[in-house]
Amino acid sequence: MQELNQQVMASDEPIIICREMNKWFGDFHVLRNITLEVMPQEVLVIIGPSGSGKSTLIRCINRLEEHQDGRIVVNGIELSHDVQNIAEIRRETGMVFQQFNLFPHLTVMDNITLAPMKVRHWARDKAEQRAMELLERVEIPEQACKYPGQLSGGQQQRVAIARALAMEPRIMLFDEPTSALDPEMIKEVLDVMKELALSGMTMLVVTHEMGFAREVADRVIFMDMGRIVEEGPPENFFSPDIVHHPRTQEFLDQIL
């Protein structure tokens, strides 16, 4: 009984912890005193005007950007200049980019199997089998042998999600995954993300899709000028009865 409790306790530990995190681009203070905890299986949506530092925040979590002050702990590993720690954190976090960033010289299949084979040292058979499962999950198994340039934007983004999932990460970071897509393709990508959220993946999503935030998020964070201005469950966030911080209200008035 004691042991079981400990296990439950362990899974109640936050999977991402940021404390008093600061970052500058030259003189520009992009992230100011960010303190944030994300629980396993939580879906966190980050919204805010452009230039508010929301993309930079999630890019700090897998060290695509370096934070200069404060602490970040991901999956129990301290993020520092230690290259082994960085490598380990990157193995446990998948990322989906606004511009997809698929490798144009590799087929869809090779895009997905590359990292599992090179980083996780899987056999090709296993990696390809897993890739086919993922392609079926994002509903484009018939595109496996094509090159990214032959796919539509929505299909490319779904391949990018499959590629990130192939590493079997514990955390998925989404950096405006639908912003570069045609309106009719946004839905197909959001559907995949919804399914992923329901399956219990820990997700940090930077997006302008308020419908997605309302429907899927466990918690919404509003950022402005490098600060977390307001956070709360989506029911509160998008409810007209709640009194918001004036900056949040201004932003919501503009987009809703």
Binding site: N62, R63, L64, A87, R90, R91, T93, G94, M95, F97, Q99, N101, L102, F103, P104, H105, L114, A115, M117, K118, V119, R120, H121, W122, A123, R124, D125, K126, A127, K146, Y147, G149, Q150, R163, A164, M167, L173
Partner: protein, 510 residues
């Protein structure tokens, strides 16, 4: 209302009356007519030109022909190997062609290596390296290549010492260590290092490594003390640099060379087989194996083993040699070798080395190179000028190619956790090469064509030789035609090669 408007519009929009019949307003027919007119003009001009050339040549009694190529050339060519002035024009032409190929072939390899290096330095985070390479590129690509060839010839090479005071590498009188033995020791240590690499317990692994290094070092020391195997031997300089150019040692295949090559070939086959097998293992089990390293070790092992086995060949107890007084004396091979009485043929026959090292030597008067490979100053000037000038352009192409890979590609590779090496090899390089190869081909063509500037420093390339042929025979049309065809052949071969490489890196899009 609406209908009547649309009825009126064509009447308003079109000209009042058609000046030309419909057939002459058809774009396809107009294009066809333009092409016919153009071809007609070209044919007329060429025809006129040919008539004029023919009349001009007939008036000087020199109709273009190829028969004169069989006549005696009657002039000497530096850098010509076995050619002499008694050979035919066609032989002179061949010597020139080979000399051009010599510059272009080695030049292409050297300029590619140098250019890639400088190109990578241009992107270096090291300030000093980046600045120096930037200065290198800017100075070299902004000055004429003819000037640079002259600079190499008249400033750099003329500043070198006279032949008697040549720079020598390694310096005269240096003593060589038994390289073969050290290579073998190093190989043994490397193999043990690699073999223990997969051991789980660090204590055992380090223990085995330390003990084996100690044993190898001890064996070398003992050999030095007890048997004298490590005693240095006198080593003659292998490279001389002087105002007369560069003289480099030769490696001559001996009678054992063929047997040794068997070891080398078997080594290569084993290495390739090992590499394939380990790749198969990696694919099926996922276990990472440093297969290139293993393959190289296997290859080196066989090569060294071959050399060792060759060294065990018994030599005849005595061989006849001519001593200083010109009498035939019988003495053991090693004594004859020590006293330098062996002829080159005997050395090649009885040696225990598959390749015979022959340092450059001067003749009695100290003027001409007797053995070794001689590289003339004019070859050096042309070679250095072409290689260094072209490398500046290639450096820029390489820099641009690497920078053309979008940042997102690097971010995606990092986010997936790929190592730096994998990212460079699997993501950056294939995409950078796609951008680099077409302009690189242009630079290769430039280098091959710029090699005709060799005439400036009297390097006997095809253009220089043909110039002499034309002056002597008066066969300018044939001569120019032949040079033209020779350069065309070289250029087309380069283009063909680059197109084949280019095909491999094309992207598939919709």
């Amino acid at each position: 209302m609406l209908e009547s408007q649309s009825m009126e519009r064509p009447a308003d929009g079109s000209p009042p009356e058609n000046l030309l019949p419909a057939i002459f307003r058809d774009g396809r027919i107009l294009q066809g007519i333009a092409q016919i007119i153009f071809v007609a003009i070209v044919v007329l001009v060429l025809n006129n030109l040919q008539t004029r050339i023919n009349t001009a040549l007939e008036s000087t009694n020199q109709s273009p022909n190829f028969e004169f190529l069989q006549n005696r050339a009657g002039f000497d060519i530096a850098d010509s190997g076995s050619y002499s002035s008694n050979d035919r024009y066609i032989d002179a032409f061949r010597v020139g062609f080979i000399n051009t190929i010599r510059v272009v072939l080695f030049g292409l390899v050297a300029t590619t290596v140098l250019g890639i290096m400088v190109g990578i330095f241009l992107l270096s985070r090291n300030f000093l390296l980046r600045t120096i390479s930037r200065a290198y590129v800017e100075v070299l690509r902004n000055t004429p290549i003819l000037l640079q060839i002259f600079a190499w010839f008249f400033i750099v090479i003329f500043a070198l010492p006279q032949q008697q005071q040549s720079f020598a590498f390694p310096q005269e009188g240096i003593r060589s260590l038994p390289l073969m033995q050290y290579a073998l020791s190093l190989f043994v240590i490397l193999v043990i290092w690699q073999a223990t690499g997969s051991m789980r317990r660090p204590a055992w692994r380090n223990g085995i490594r330390q003990v084996s290094v100690a044993v190898v070092v001890l064996a070398n020391l003992l050999g030095l003390v007890l048997v004298g195997t490590g005693t240095p031997i006198e080593f003659r300089p292998g490279i001389y640099i002087s105002i007369k150019g560069v003289a480099v040692f030769e490696l001559i295949p001996s009678s054992l060379f063929a047997v040794w090559m068997v070891f080398v070939v078997v080594g290569a086959v084993v290495a390739i087989a090992m590499s394939r097998y380990f790749q198969f293992i990696t694919e099926t089990t996922g276990k990472p194996i440093p297969r290139t390293r293993y393959a190289l070790l296997a290859f080196a092992g066989f090569t060294l083993l071959g050399w060792l086995v060759m060294g065990m060949r018994p030599t005849p107890s005595v061989i006849p040699v001519l001593d200083e007084s010109g009498e035939v004396v019988e003495m053991p091979y090693d004594d004859a070798f020590e006293s330098g009485l062996l002829t080159i043929e005997q050395e090649l026959e009885y040696t225990r080395q598959p390749l015979l090292y022959r340092p450059p030597t001067l003749d009695r008067r100290g003027r001409n190179i007797e053995t070794g490979i001689e590289i003339s100053p004019s070859y050096l000037a042309v070679f250095l000028g072409l290689v260094i000038y072209t490398s500046a352009f290639i450096a820029e192409i390489v820099r641009a190619g690497i920078q053309a890979v979008p940042r997102g590609q690097l971010e995606a590779s990092r986010a997936l956790g790929l190592s730096q090496g994998d990212m460079l090899r699997l993501i950056i390089l294939p995409q950078a090469l796609r951008v680099i190869i077409p302009p690189l081909g242009n630079q290769f063509l430039n280098l091959s064509k710029n090699s005709s500037l060799a005439i400036a420093v009297s390097y006997t390339d095809i253009y220089q030789v043909t110039n002499t042929i034309i002056n002597q025979s008066g066969q300018s049309v044939t001569g120019i035609l032949m040079v033209l065809l020779a350069y065309l052949l070289i250029s087309l071969l380069i283009s063909l090669g680059m197109n084949l490489v280019n095909q491999r890196f094309q992207l598939v899009t919709r």
